[in-house]
Each structure stands twice: as structure tokens, then as C-alpha cells.
Point group: none
Chain length 233, copies 4
DNA sequence: CATGAATGAGCGTTCATTCAT
DNA sequence: GATGAATGAACGCTCATTCAT
């Protein structure tokens, strides 16, 4: 059973139920779980809430899924898979030099964080609540994502196109910045995803201190208004 | 009731109980709560575990605190206060120019994230579980911390010493990078806090693209070995 | 609906499913119920397990039977009927004197306990879980079985061929001894059913202290090796 | 935590609640569990019923006991221990010859089955529902009880004081007869425990076909009226 | 004949909290 | 200051059963 289908993000008014068509309970339930886990956290969410949000009975949840934990795992796994697909697709259509590849990865990540903002938040907050055997599998995937970033940066450093003394810290900073987007980005805000991606591309290139060259920086629009969600002090 | 006292970070062997001296139950309990909340999350933790970890009875917890929620609030509030003290102290002993001030803020933040790594993690993860009236109070504090960063950056931009088109995104990236330290920093690892701070100062200055000038960058040691904790893909 | 058909005892490998032929769902289901009820007890067994064991869907169970309770009742009723048939057949082909009749009853009972060991165990353990109206019907049958024993013994006592002061206790002891066989008898063990029956005939005759006379005691083989299942201390 | 205390048998009207004195919840709960497990079986009984019967809340049950399974184990273990104590005490005050010892064991067993009729029923029916590690421990005890019987009978056969070709079957018959008492004995019935014991002593001696000798048979009252509970046909 | 989808009631258990001592 | 005993609400989950197809 895959999940993949939904998260149109803008979860549709959060709370709307509106009669699940017979046979489509599985999707309705993972969608509801996404919302509820995001809102209240894995342990703070009750599967009764999930079922209610999906407009189904508690028992229907157990017909479609094998439990709360599996619901979380399905959500996270589907997200990771989507992320990898996004990254691979971006890297496939890019030139081979480290700078281009780094830009592609940033764009893919920003795109994913914005497009699947809710799943990104869940991944950031609830990953630790995965139990075995799901945890092992996803930890491995997570590590290979990290390696994706690190390899590109290391290569850039080796080729002298990136100039940073501490490539690991550079990688961490870039990833942290991109990941944080999910926490504050408001889809009805004033910056479009594409524009946002370019801004973060620019930030990433600064962090690795790319040696100046003519390259694929595209445009740069005017500074916008405000948005929400302050980071932890 | 403030907490402030403890978090020696390296929480003391995690699980050691060893007889609470009469009258010091309050500290023992907040210390225990810190550990347990960090390990399992607010909703995943039970106050029975907290009391057990503190070596006290469940009833003792209610003697010293008014409940689980207040325990969380005390922890978070104490952390924020410490953070503000750290920042203020750093800014007080610094020159007035934006670059110096930004560097001071980064150093204070890195120092805090490393020194109170556990509280930082709790703040990042469990803030959302604060209920009123605690939530309101702490949100305000959090906002004023954000303003601290933003004002410095905005000033630097106005003075043309920072060159960034999107100061808000710069600020977010810097904060995100610093905050993430708590997630991967290992106190017995290979980089000392002071050294780490300088690396992040460097990263922050790159992000705001500070105009070149003579300044207080200190040293830069050799790149180290590995560390843990990959960010969410 | 009667069941009667199956219980090959040695329930066929316990768990083997192997495609139920169309139309034979009813038997497959009672067979499965027999196994599952025997293994886990009526309340400990779930009809999902029964359906799965039978290789059919849960809904098929409700097509063939009206519910869990009816499944149990069918099993027990079929067993009782078989037992009565066995007893009647044995008594029909026997002389009229109490001793002969008692021996015949013992032989029939031992035969039944060995031949339908599983049903015997279920009858012993799960009878109490019968609800009305099944309970009433089967209690009546059970009473008439008791009367069968008692009448023979009472007659023997009256005729002075049995010498026991407490015929009811004698009857209870004999029945208890015979019934217990189902709990320990191992079909692949070292004593054949026929031989076992003779041993119990001997025990029964001793219990009623039959006055010595020439009679149908047959042979007596050598004492065997061990067996399983200790009675409750 | 031991249980041992209660089972006055005649559980007091079955359902009477009457305010549990503070602090005595543990006993009230095991007593209630005894009743409810006996009435409905382990799987048929709900711990809510147990708590209700004890006049306490469901949570109180978990304060005193660690769960349903532990409740069953405590009941069974306490019963077995009591039974062993009864047997040992009986054997200690008896002459060394097999016949005397067999009589003593029968008397002890009948005494126990009558005195702790409810626990005896539970032991007979619910033993199989014990999970590890309780099961292992109690199986061992059960086996040693069986050995107690078998050793005495074997010795009697060796000394030619018992004349039975199949000592194992003799032992099984005697044990089965004694154990069954718990199923039909009515404490307000017409036969006193002591008298009943003598009847079963007589039955047991017949089963082992003791060589005639002067011995400790005591008295023998007149045959009584009826009682309930027919054995499974 | 048989199934896939769904339900409501109830299960054993744990929770944060309170109260009498 | 601190505890042992108790509670009501809610938890994740399984149950026997039903219904539309």
C-alpha cells in the first residue's frame, strides 16, 4: 500500500469531512493522519481524531491500516520517496559541475518543502517516534540524502569551485536553512515557490563561497512583505 | 517559580537517581522532566516517568509543580531567559557596528545551543505543546529574539555593510543553521564550542554577504572527523 | 443444521488451509472452529481466526452459520449426538445384566473420548459458554447421559451385583475417570483404544465393587511408557 | 504480593460490593477476580467486571496488580501453594505405608477441592491461559503434584499392597475423580467434607485394589440426597 | 456463493490528576 | 514535605457483526 497520492497542501480547510466514498477509505485516512499528526504531533494525536477527521469509524482505520505506527511510517516513507524522486529528477536534468548540482539540489529541496510542507514538518518532528523496523529503513534513506548533499559539496571543494574550510558545517547550514522553510512558509504569502528557491540557491552558494563564474543564477525579484513563525530562541 | 539552576548538559548519566536531598525536590523534578521530555517528547513522556527519574513520588511532583504543563513551561521559560541573558551579555561587550553585533549574536547563540543542547531541542520540538497562558508569554519572547536578529541585519543592510536582497530570508537561514546545532552537536565530539562558534560566524557573515573589512575573525583550525544526526530529507 | 461429518482427529496438520472446494464451506468452517476453539477456548478464539483457518472470508462464515455462538452449539450438539449413538449402539448389542451394561457404557465412552478427543475437550471446557436456547437443550441431553450411567449402577446395586454404599459417587468417579482420558490421551502413544477401554472397564468394575463372577474381561497387555498432560493439582 | 488470604468459599452472595476500606484494595480485587474468572472464564471475564465486583475503579486494579494475566497467575499460584501445603501437612502426620499415604493424599485433595472449590475450578479450566513466565513455573509444580501421587502408587504396587496392572491409569482415575468434586460439590448440600473424603478414600483404595488389611477407614454415613452439575457426556 | 468495506461496543491498559494521611 | 491509594477519561486496538455488491 502506497500513500503518495494526496497532500494537495492547503489541506482543504482542516476539518472538512464530507462523506468518504465507499472503498476510498485508505486515502482519506492517510490524509487525515497527515493533518492530525502535523497539528498535534504523533503522541498528541489520537487515532480517534484521525478517523473522525477522515469521516470514518475507528474500526475502518484498522481495516485499512495496521495501526497508528504504520500510519506514521507510511506518511514518512512516502514523503522520503517523493523527496528522492524530486532530487533525482532535478539532478538528472542538470550539468555535471558541483555548483549546478548544488543549485539543483537546493531547488528540489525548496520545491519539496513548499509543495509538501505538512509532510516536511511531520518528518522533522515525528521521525524520532518511528519504531523498528520502520526506523532502520528510514534512517538509512535519511543518511543517503545527507550523502547526496555532502558529496556534491566535497566535490566542489576538491575542485576549488567551493571555498569552505568546513564542508560538513556548510552542508548542515544549507540543509537546516532549506528544511526550516516548511516551518514558516505560508502558501498564500507573498513569495512564489520558484522565486523562493532562487533566494535559497543564492544563500547556499554564499555559504559554500563559490568562486565567481558565469552561471545559472536566473533572476531576483523585489523584497516582499512579512510572514509568520519565528524560530526557537 | 523559575528553574534556571541546572542542566549541566550531559544530563548526569541519564537515569541515575541516588536519593534526593530533602527540600531540593523542585530542581530534581525539573531536571528529570528535562531528560524525559527530551527523550520521549512532551506527549510521549509520562509524569510518572519524570517522578521516577527524579527519585520522588508522583505526589511530590504535584507538591512542587502544578502539573505536567507547568513543568514544560518552566523548562522553556528558563531556557529563553538564559538565552536572552546570554545574548544581552554578548551584545553589551561589543562594538556598535552591525557586523560586530551579528557576530556576537551568533557566538551567543552557538554557545547557548551547545551549552544547553537538551533545552534547545525541547524548545524546538515541544514549544507547540504550550497551552495558554504560557504560550502567549513565550511567543512574545520568541518574537523579540527574532527582532533582535532582524534589527541587526536590517541595520547592516541599511548601512550597506551587509549586501543581501532578502534580509528576512538571510535571518531565517542564519537562525536555522545555528538552531540546528543542538540536533547534531556531540559534546564529546571533535570540535570545541568556541571553534564551532567561529565557523558559524563565518557562515553567517557569508549569508549576509558582508562588505570586506578588517574584523574580529579569529582563527580556523583543521577540518575534523565525523558526527551524527542527519537532518530530515 | 447438523455437523457430524468430520473431526478426523489429528486435525490435519493444524493450520493447513489448501483451497476449500465450492459448496463445502460449511464443513470447512466447523472443522476450523473445532480446531480454533480447542486451541484457544471459545472466548479466546476469534471468528476471524476460524474463517482464516478454514480458508474462507469472514463473510462466508456468516453465510453458512448465524454466528460464533451457533458454531459452538453445532459442534457440541454434534458431539453429544455422536456420543449417544455410540452408547446406544453399544448397549443394544449387550446382555441385559448391569455389569455387562456398565462395561459396554465404559467401552463406548472411552471409544468416544479417544475417537473425538478434540470435541470432548471442547465439551468439557466450553459447555458453560452456551447461551440460550442451545444451553437448555444440551443440558437436558447431558442429564440423560448421566441418567444412563446412574440407572445401570443403581440397578446393579439393587440386584446386589454391585456393592457400593454411594452409587452417585461411584458414578461420578467413573465418569470423571473416563472423561479425563481426552485430556491426556495421545493418539500416537503406546496404548491402543481397545486396550485402553479394557483398562477402564476394569477400573469401573472395581469402583462399583462388582461381586465376583465369570465375565467378559478380555486380556491385559504389559504396562507402557509415559504420556503427557498432568491434571490440575 | 501473595494472595492466599481469602476465598471463604461461599463468596458471600456473588455481587455484593459494600465499600472497600481504604488500603485493602488488593485483597478485594483478587477476591473479585476469583469470582469473575470462575463465573465467566478468563477470556470471558473483563477486568472492568472484576473492578466493579470489587467495588473499585478500573485504575485501582492497575494500582494493585500489573494486569489481567498477573491476576490469574496470582490466583493459580496461590491455589497450588495451598494445595501443596495441605498435602505435605497430611503426609507428615501419616504412617509410612503406601496405603496410609494414599488415603492421606486423597483426604488432603478432597479437603482442598471442597475448601477451595472456586480456585479448583479456575485451575482446571484456566490453566491453559497462563502465559510465560507464569506457565513454566506452574507446570513444574503441577508435575510434582502428579509425581506425589504416582510415587505412592508405584511403591504400593512394588510392595504388593496395591494390585493394579496399570498404575498410571489408576493414578489418573483417582486424580480425575477427586478433581471432579469441585465441579459438583455444593457446600450447602447433604454431605460433609470429612464424610466425602472417606467415600473417596474408599473409591481410591478400590481402584488400586488394595490387599485387604485392617486400616484407618473411619466411619460411613447413610446415602444422601441429590446434587447438581452433570459431567460432560 | 462469496466478498470487501464498514461499524459500534468493548477490550486491556495508561494517563494526568486528586485526596486523605 | 512527602506519600500511598484512588479516580475518570482517554488511549490504541480487536471484537462479532452487518451491509452493499
Amino acid at each position: 500500500m502506497t500513500v503518495s497520492e494526496s497532500e494537495s497542501d492547503e489541506p482543504g480547510g482542516s476539518g472538512t469531512t464530507s462523506a468518504v466514498p465507499r472503498g476510498s477509505g485508505g486515502v482519506a485516512l492517510t490524509d487525515a493522519a497527515r493533518e492530525v499528526f502535523a497539528e498535534r504531533g504523533y503522541h498528541g494525536a489520537s487515532i480517534r481524531d484521525v478517523a473522525k477527521r477522515a469521516g470514518l469509524s475507528l474500526s475502518a482505520l484498522y481495516y485499512w491500516h495496521s495501526g497508528k505506527q504504520e500510519l506514521l511510517a507510511a506518511l514518512l516513507e512516502d514523503g522520503v520517496n517523493d523527496y528522492f524522486r524530486t532530487c533525482e529528477s532535478a539532478l538528472r536534468t542538470t550539468e555535471a559541475d558541483p555548483a549546478s548540482r548544488l543549485c539543483a539540489l537546493v531547488r528540489a529541496t525548496v520545491d519539496y518543502r513548499v509543495r509538501r510542507r505538512v509532510d516536511s514538518t511531520i518528518a522533522a518532528q515525528e521521525f524520532r517516534n518511528l519504531e523498528q523496523p520502520h526506523a532502520q529503513r528510514l534512517v538509512t534513506l535519511r543518511e543517503s540524502a545527507t550523502r547526496l548533499w555532502q558529496d556534491i559539496i566535497d566535490e566542489g571543494v576538491r575542485d576549488d569551485v567551493f571555498r569552505c574550510a568546513y564542508p560538513r558545517d556548510a552542508r548542515r547550514a544549507i540543509q537546516a536553512a532549506c528544511n526550516a522553510i516548511a516551518q514558516w512558509y505560508a502558501p498564500d504569502g507573498d513569495v512564489e515557490p520558484g522565486e523562493l528557491a532562487e533566494r535559497y540557491v543564492s544563500i547556499a552558494l554564499r555559504i559554500v563561497d563559490r568562486a565567481p563564474q558565469v552561471h545559472d543564477r536566473r533572476k531576483a525579484s523585489a523584497p516582499p512583505r512579512g510572514s509568520t513563525a519565528d524560530p526557537a530562541p
